[in-house]
Amino acid sequence: MNGLSVNANHGDRVMLKQRSLRLLLGTTTLLVLFPLIVFASVKIMEDPGEKRADILTIDIPPSGNYKDGDDKDMPPVLFKHDLHSRAVEGQCSKCHDNKEGKPIFKFKRTEDMAGREYMDLYHDNCVACHSDMKGKSGKRGPMEAQCRVCHNAQPKVSSSREKIAFDKSLHYTHEKAKAVKSGIKEEETNCNACHHSANIKAKTTFYEKGKESACVYCHKPVAENGVRPARNAAHDSCVACHLSMVDDAEKGGPVECAGCHDSENQKKITVNTDIPRLDRNQPDHALLTGWTELGTNAEENKKTIAAHMDAVPFNHKVHEAKNLSCKVCHHQTLNKCSSCHTATGQKKGGFIKLGKAMHTGSASQSCIGCHNEMKTAKECAGCHAQMPQKEAKDQECAACHAVDVKSESPDRLKDPKASGKMALAAIEAKTYKKVNLQEIPETVEIKIIADEYKPSDFPHRMMVEAIFKKVEDNGMAKAFHGTDLTLCAGCHHNSPATLTPPKCASCHGKKPDIATGKPGLKGAYHGQCITCHQKMEVKSVLPTDCTKCHDKKE
């Protein structure tokens, strides 16, 4: 019963063998090819490709005169701008029209159009150019019927574009540049070369001296009320100007995308150090009161004044000098904060009340938020990193709200110069009480939990002197600390600031207290000392150098 291998004749057997062989070959091919195909295709899909700073995404508007058969679902085109600008050897006019000598940064058009025309514009012009010219390598760009080369659903490029921060330093570079010329003969300063105010209804711009401010205050990320988006405004102004300087002997600004937007190139931008203060009629000192306006009714004014907290004397001049740009605090306008952030909140201020705007601990444009950020510097973090974060209501109000204005005359308070003088007086009146180092014990023997190690001879005075030095040049720290004794509280915490603070063992037991989170003495000592060293990036003693602080017992 061996089937056909016995009974069949030779011819049948050969035929059968051939069939089986074919079957074997066929399925072997399938078995080898199929996994390879699946594997390779998904592999290709996953490849992330290169990162460039000049990628522009060209996608068609969702609506407009499309015909049946137009594929609106084609993937957007990732356009490499610098590649193309180099290919045309800097002749922007090959793609960009001109208006009044300045290029229009739209592709071969002055106005945006409906979908179909937009699509045709791109297709016709791109393909025409690709057909006309070859690149330096001899390759042409994609042409007719090579749709998917541009409309690539799995593009091998992605954008690495970084925003460019136009800070005081970069501004000064432009301010002092001879190439940036004033457009108005009477003006000595060249501010009007870039800064303008706008009449939106009339669609005109004009220069208003004394009203210069940051571009982004009006030019938002998207177009609003006929105002160009920030990107367009920046490119129209900055790039156009840079382009006009390309042929000059002097070095102009970058004209390629990567020149401003590539993170490596950004690092190469010259940083200016002694930047003169920008004059915008801003106060040197100001008294922050909290009320928006005082009226003419004296009784009302008195009530308003009495209903507010003590005023905050604000050293505007120092804050200007210490920050990279005005935008750090003046994030939407150069006007005062209370012009948008009213006491009860309004739409212009995003319904954020003045109190919240000043006190939010996590926002860098808020007073407390910025100060919190400053506390993370390594000179400060040794003490501050170990302090639990307090909410605004648990902090000391009097540190800022220092000027009692209840008995002041509303007229004086209304006058910025007068109130500014009041603020200056309060600021200068602040004294910093220093502590005589000799009153600090030179060494302190910590022996309460000495076990495997000998008692530690803690060089107390040396430590304190080092910390005092760090605060000496920091006006902000001194303003908030008020006295050197505050610094004692950095280690001698949760107790009054005094020259004779209580022993650590008066609060810390041998074992940690889980309910309150209070460490035991060993954890307290080591935690305090080692963490401070770590936060202040002390290199001379590592956390694991046990014997640097206490010798081992024999």
Binding site: G520, K522, G527, C546
Partner: protein, 361 residues
């Protein structure tokens, strides 16, 4: 049906009995969750406090009487390599950055994978929270090592006759005396805090809330693999301190309870199904045989009838033939007799003729 009623009932009873007997094998998937023994202990490890001094490793080694390692515990260069727990190290500290360290050891899960996997119950989750290993029962199958999602248990492969599984014991003998585990006691930074697990969870969240920028907003071990007694805080994503974040919150026993639950069903159902198949097959064969028998019988009957009919016909024919033959013979005989008689008569007649004078002479 060849299987008797008695036999069938017997099979059924056996099946039911077997199911009841192995009922304890099943762990039906339900929405019950074990939240841990109340008042069980745990340890909170704040890895932001760890300085990588390895004193915990040293204390663990001494408390458990383990073999001294090649490189001493104050050799911090070993931290350059990633290490895991092994036969002589119930806990290790690893370095994940210039100032980032974390300690790793058995996490004493609330629903331990090792205890679920062990087929001799050599692991037990004690009410103190510790997961304890009983060497006297262990067969050495090492399924616990396969099951542990944290890759903690180690095995003394080089011990030929008494190999065992090794892992952190949460210093069970010490904690039942009210003492602290060795590592906790010695840690100079109090990066390890021992206490009731419920309290430690609260403490962990308190620390996070007091310094939100300092910690990742997650307490590792609160829910991972159904919750562990060892809880962790970190300043950087846990994945970066060697702790897997893809383990999920399902406990290990729950992962296998479905498969286990199907055991008694199979034991109850299969005998019924298989006996049924057998019975059906047998019945099919029987019917086929009966049909075959009937067909054969019918065929035989038919054949016999045919044969009988033919026989009768033949018999009739033969009788007829015989009769005819007899009749013919009789006729023949009669004719002959007649003929003979005639001849005799003739002869007699002849003798009685005038030729008779011959008679006197």
């Amino acid at each position: 049906m060849a299987i008797s009623r008695r036999k069938f009932l017997g099979c059924l009873t056996a099946a039911v009995g077997a199911t009841t007997g192995v009922g304890s094998l099943a762990h039906a998937a339900s929405n019950k969750a074990f939240k841990g023994y109340p008042d069980s202990f745990g340890v909170l490890h704040d890895s932001t406090k760890c300085i990588g001094c390895r004193k915990c490793e040293q204390a663990c080694n001494e408390v458990n009487g383990l073999a001294k390692p090649e490189k001493p515990f104050d050799d911090l260069k070993v931290l350059e390599e990633r290490r895991r727990t092994d036969e002589a190290a119930y806990t290790v500290v690893n370095k994940f950055g210039p100032t980032v360290f974390a300690k790793t050891q058995c996490n004493h899960c609330q629903e331990p994978a090792c205890a679920s996997a062990c087929f001799v119950k050599a692991f037990k989750k004690d009410k103190t929270g510790a997961v304890i290993y009983d060497e006297s029962l262990c067969v050495g199958c090492r399924y616990c090592m396969v099951a542990c999602p944290f890759n903690v248990p180690a095995y003394t492969y080089n011990d030929p006759l008494t190999p065992k599984v090794t892992k952190c014991t949460l210093c069970h003998p010490r904690i039942i005396e009210g003492k602290l585990p060795g590592c906790v006691e010695i840690c100079p930074k109090e990066a390890l805090v021992f206490g009731k697990r419920a309290d430690l969870v609260k403490l962990a969240w308190k620390r996070i809330n007091q310094a939100p920028g300092h910690y990742v907003q997650h307490v590792y071990g609160e829910h991972e693999m159904g919750g562990t007694s060892w809880l962790y805080l970190s300043g950087i994503p846990f994945e970066q301190i060697g702790m897997r974040e893809d383990l999920g919150t399902t406990s290990a026993p729950q992962l296998t309870s479905g498969a286990l639950a199907s055991v008694p069903i199979v034991v109850g159902l299969w005998p019924v199904l298989l006996t049924g198949v057998y019975a059906i097959a047998k019945r099919k064969d029987k019917i086929a045989k009966e049909e075959q028998d009937t067909a054969v019988k019918d065929a035989i009957d038919q054949a016999t009838e045919e044969m009988n009919k033919q026989l009768t016909q033949l018999k009739d024919k033969m009788t007829k033939e015989q009769q005819t033959a007899v009749a013919n013979e009789v006729k023949k005989a009669l004719e002959e007799a007649a003929k003979k008689a005639e001849e005799e008569v003739e002869e007699a007649a002849k003798a009685d003729t005038p030729d008779a004078g011959k008679e006197d002479e």
